[in-house]
Subunit: 365 residues, 2 copies
């Protein structure tokens, strides 16, 4: 069965197509978009070994001409040097304005392929084939692309919407446990900011911390409802003029924690988990959210096998300082997304820094 979710945008809408075994339909689905024949598939060596051949076979069966390149895995290679490598392959193979880059991989591959596609010949097509839970429910949808600056995450980038997001839930079977958990952080985020029913479904599940222990129906629901939430928000606010900011729930402090630990000690999802715990407590301190709901949220984060404390040794002053370089800062004020009930959040830049400090102190490991 194929689930199709539409991302409605003024300039060009696109579908998120979710189905088991979907990887073998890649060529056919790209054909139906009337994309021209030249394809550059970008991946990382591990993912490419697992799924590269199948993706390429599907593309070739649909008469596409495919070249591929792999980039070293990991957030620390998400930089302009890796983008240069994509450019070089694009030039060597004479990609044209009507050609398409296909991102086969997790968030790092997706963000970089999207940025290369956004900036090669001032913008060519990109198709996202996310292979991690995090990329499926979050980074592959919505057109945010980019790389890191040595001193800050995602500071360099562009908005560039994909022509198609193709999801095959079966590839989650080869996803390392820690990365599955990281993706669950974003799924829990959708429960808190948008979809109380999804939150309730996860609360009702005995396990959340390993793919093989989560019932297939819940996996389906997690993918479909999360993608729908992201599509709803992005359709209403493509370029983060307002509503879209709510997707940054947990990300304000999360980014600071990632950055201070050099993108190594905690991964993005773990950082977001920590950020949601912090944001929930800030909301409770400000009297905006019931203490009981923060506990329900934190229990769900813990059930997904995610940390709810700061990594040992992280400097709280350092976090406060790092918040100032966040993209969301406006006139020096840090914006926070804070829950008011499960499924509903609000955005504020009126959080006193002593409250932030107090909450972070309470979260020291």
């Amino acid at each position: 069965m194929m689930n199709r979710i539409n991302v409605n945008l003024p300039e060009q809408s696109y579908e998120i197509a979710i189905a088991s075994g979907n990887l073998d339909n890649l060529g056919e689905q790209m054909s139906s978009l009337q994309l021209r024949k030249k394809i550059l598939l970008v991946s990382n060596p591990t993912i490419f070994k697992h799924y590269g051949e199948r993706a390429i076979a599907s593309l070739k069966a649909a008469n596409f001409e495919v070249v591929s390149c792999t980039l070293p895995p990991g957030e620390r290679y998400k930089n302009l040097n890796s983008i240069q490598k994509i450019y070089d392959v694009a030039l060597e193979n004479r990609l044209e304005r009507s050609s398409t880059m296909v991102a086969l991989g997790g968030g790092v591959v997706g963000d970089m392929t999207g940025f290369a596609a956004a900036t090669w010949l001032r913008g060519i097509n990109v198709v996202q084939v996310p292979t991690t839970l995090l990329a499926m429910v979050d980074s592959a949808i919505g057109g945010k692309t980019g790389v890191n600056h040595p001193q800050g995450k995602n500071l360099i980038g562009a908005f560039h919407q994909p022509r198609l997001v193709l999801i095959d839930p079966e590839v989650l079977k080869t996803l390392p446990m820690r990365e599955f958990r990281a993706g669950m952080a974003e799924v829990i985020k959708y429960g808190v900011i948008w979809d109380a029913e999804l939150f309730a479904q996860m609360e009702a599940s005995k396990n959340l911390n390993q793919h093989r222990y989560v019932k297939p129906e819940l996996i389906d629901s997690i993918l479909t409802r999360s993608c729908q939430a992201k599509a709803d928000v992005v359709s209403k606010d493509e370029k983060e003029a307002g509503l879209r900011a709510i997707l940054n729930y947990g990300h304000t402090i999360g980014h600071a924690v990632e950055s201070l630990t050099g993108y190594r000690l905690v991964n993005h999802g773990e950082a977001v988990g920590i950020g949601m715990v912090a944001a929930g407590q800030i909301a409770a301190e400000l009297g905006m959210w019931q203490k009981e709901d923060t506990q329900r949220q934190d229990a769900l984060i813990a059930k997904a096998g995610l940390p709810t404390k700061l990594p040992a040794g992280v400097d709280i002053e350092g976090i406060i300082e790092a918040l100032q370089t966040d993209k969301k800062v406006k006139d020096g004020k840090v914006r926070f997304v804070l829950p008011t009930q499960i499924g509903v959040v609000t955005v504020t830049d009126e959080v006193p820094s002593d409250i932030i400090t107090a909450v972070l102190r309470g979260m020291q490991g």
Copy 2:
């Protein structure tokens, strides 16, 4: 007297404001756009020495907070390394999404500042203050931004419209003669593709090859009519889906010539002049354009002090090969913009390569 030309676009329109002494109005005009206070002014050392202080004084008088950086001049520094320098200054000074970069300079400064603004925090404001004739009538308008790949010009880039284009014709007084002539190539282009009246005005002028010999009224007309032509075309086709391609008149072979001579021997305008001569002759060979009109065009190009022959030693096979890496290639076919009468052009990808070769042979110096 202030001439204002509107560039109408679906997402955000903007003005081209042309007036003598306009540089001193920069701050005031940016204020009226309600831009927030942080400004990063980007320039090159020569231009900054001439006009940096005045621009900054005007901005400060309007309560902007200004930092600046200068980049080495010349097409060969139009690369990602220079963009990295802008990013570093942006980070150091904590530019925010609501901040603005101001490009004070020619096409290289404008293209790079525009690209840095397009990609910093996924897009911040940019204001273009062009100081060369070429940048005034062409590159500062329309949102094309980018840098060169070592193997091809402008292969890396993005569409990013400015919030304002501010032109002060007085700065042309310090423009080197060769650069004035280069700008005239684009002005002649507008005459051929769009504005027969502008063409006639230039034909009627005794001199076109030095700023000080061209009457101020003609300079005014050149700036206003050229900017209007560019604004008309860009308003109708922001992202080069169709009509905008006509702006590439003379650029197909022009880019190849620039690339083959390492961006040193001929400058962009000279290359466009050569490209227009070639395109005109191709059109005549194909029976699309009257021989007499090609001669009128070539006479105007020569009167502007621009070359009408290929630089000595340029390999014609090399030009044919280089055409294949042009951004405008689609399914391996090279698109040409060809005139059918003065003021009117058409686009075709049906030019036999033996005609291209024959025309280029006839243009060997």
